[in-house]
């Protein structure tokens, strides 16, 4: 005889539980952590490269880099001054998940660090769905991507704690409707803190770096 059993269990609950474990580990070591997400080419690695030198002698930083393949990004983070950089190759998966961060944390003596920066796989869809256990989610939007991205990727824009608008040095050369962009952001994520920056010229980077330092202390 067939019987219906009510379940009502979130499909990603196993990931969420492990994310909570990650969070507990990170917190007990006194580390502040961010999950950096963006589409490919928006400037995740460039932002890390520009963020690390001003933090030298202030914060000890570990970087975890997620990519489908290669260790290029972890190498760049190490060259820019990360005290540790761990590459996670997802082997085809479109996002980092809590299991992968768990594995990376096993390779770090967390007590040696103040700040953990996790660079997610370049993708505006899947990383939003898999919590890692980091304290804050940070999205980088770059202006050449177009002003319609909040409308096309609402899941990503809704869930973040800070928004970096990168490549603002290009604004005079492209059609980017900042009002339209900001209205979409505001509808999805009212009051989210934004940092307009150019990783190329360094414009706006101070505010972002101060935010990191304030949150880390």
């Amino acid at each position: 005889m067939t019987e219906r059993i009510p379940v009502v269990e979130n499909i990603l609950s196993a990931n969420d539980r492990l994310a909570e474990e990650n969070r507990a580990r990170i917190e007990s070591a006194g580390v502040f952590s961010i999950n950096l997400m963006a589409s490919p080419g928006a400037g995740k690695t460039s932002l890390i490269e520009k963020t690390l030198p001003p933090l030298k002698d202030k914060l000890r930083v570990a970087v975890v880099d997620g990519d489908i393949a290669t260790s290029l990004d972890a190498d760049r983070a190490a060259a820019a001054g990360a005290q540790a950089s761990i590459q996670v190759n997802t082997g085809g998966e479109c996002h980092l998940d809590a299991v992968m961060l768990h594995g990376a944390l096993n390779q770090l003596d967390l007590k040696q660090f103040d700040l953990l920066m996790v660079e997610n796989v370049g993708n505006l869809v899947c990383p939003a769905e898999f919590r890692l256990g980091t304290h804050k989610s940070v999205l980088i939007a770059s202006v050449p991507e177009g002003a319609d991205k909040p409308y096309k990727y609402p899941g990503m824009y809704r869930g973040v704690d800070a928004l970096i608008i990168n490549k603002i040095d290009l604004l005079p050369y492209i059609d980017f409707d900042m009002d339209f962009f900001r209205r979409g952001v505001e509808a999805l994520n009212p009051g989210v803190i934004t940092f307009p920056v150019s990783c190329r010229t360094g414009e706006g980077m101070d505010a972002w770096i101060n935010w990191l330092i304030e949150n880390t202390k």
């Binding site: 019987e3 379940v7 979130n10 499909i11 479109c94 509808a187 999805l188």
Partner: protein
């Protein structure tokens, strides 16, 4: 493409509840999927047929109930389908909130005992 981890998670949930109920076989799995919740699609069934092999849930059919996205205006309470500009179609307000479409859970399983 993250259908595989999602499918594994659905299998774990189904087997846990089937075992707790003393079931001998899982016939159907009812999944609620909000329009905004996930990028997975019906190919989950394809993965299912591989990973559920030799379990209680081998051959089970997955049923997806899709929930459309819905926004609500914070000014006038009008509910509406998300439009291109996220503006309330009734009063033009820009203070809007997503109120449906983010669901992603196993609602129930049908089992033999």
């Amino acid at each position: 493409m993250h259908e595989l981890p999602v499918t594994q998670s659905i299998l774990q949930i189904a087997l846990k509840h089937a075992n707790e109920a003393g079931a001998t076989r899982v016939e159907d799995i009812h999944i609620v999927m909000g329009e905004l919740s996930s990028s997975v699609d019906d190919s989950v069934q394809f993965y299912w047929d591989i990973i559920a092999k030799d379990t209680l849930a081998e051959g089970a059919t997955l049923h997806f109930r899709r929930v459309p996205a819905e926004m609500q205006c914070q000014a006038c309470s009008e509910k509406f389908r998300p439009n291109d500009e996220y503006l309330c179609p009734k009063c033009g307000g820009a203070q809007v909130k997503i109120v449906a479409g983010e669901e992603f859970y196993v609602e129930a399983i049908d089992v033999d005992k």
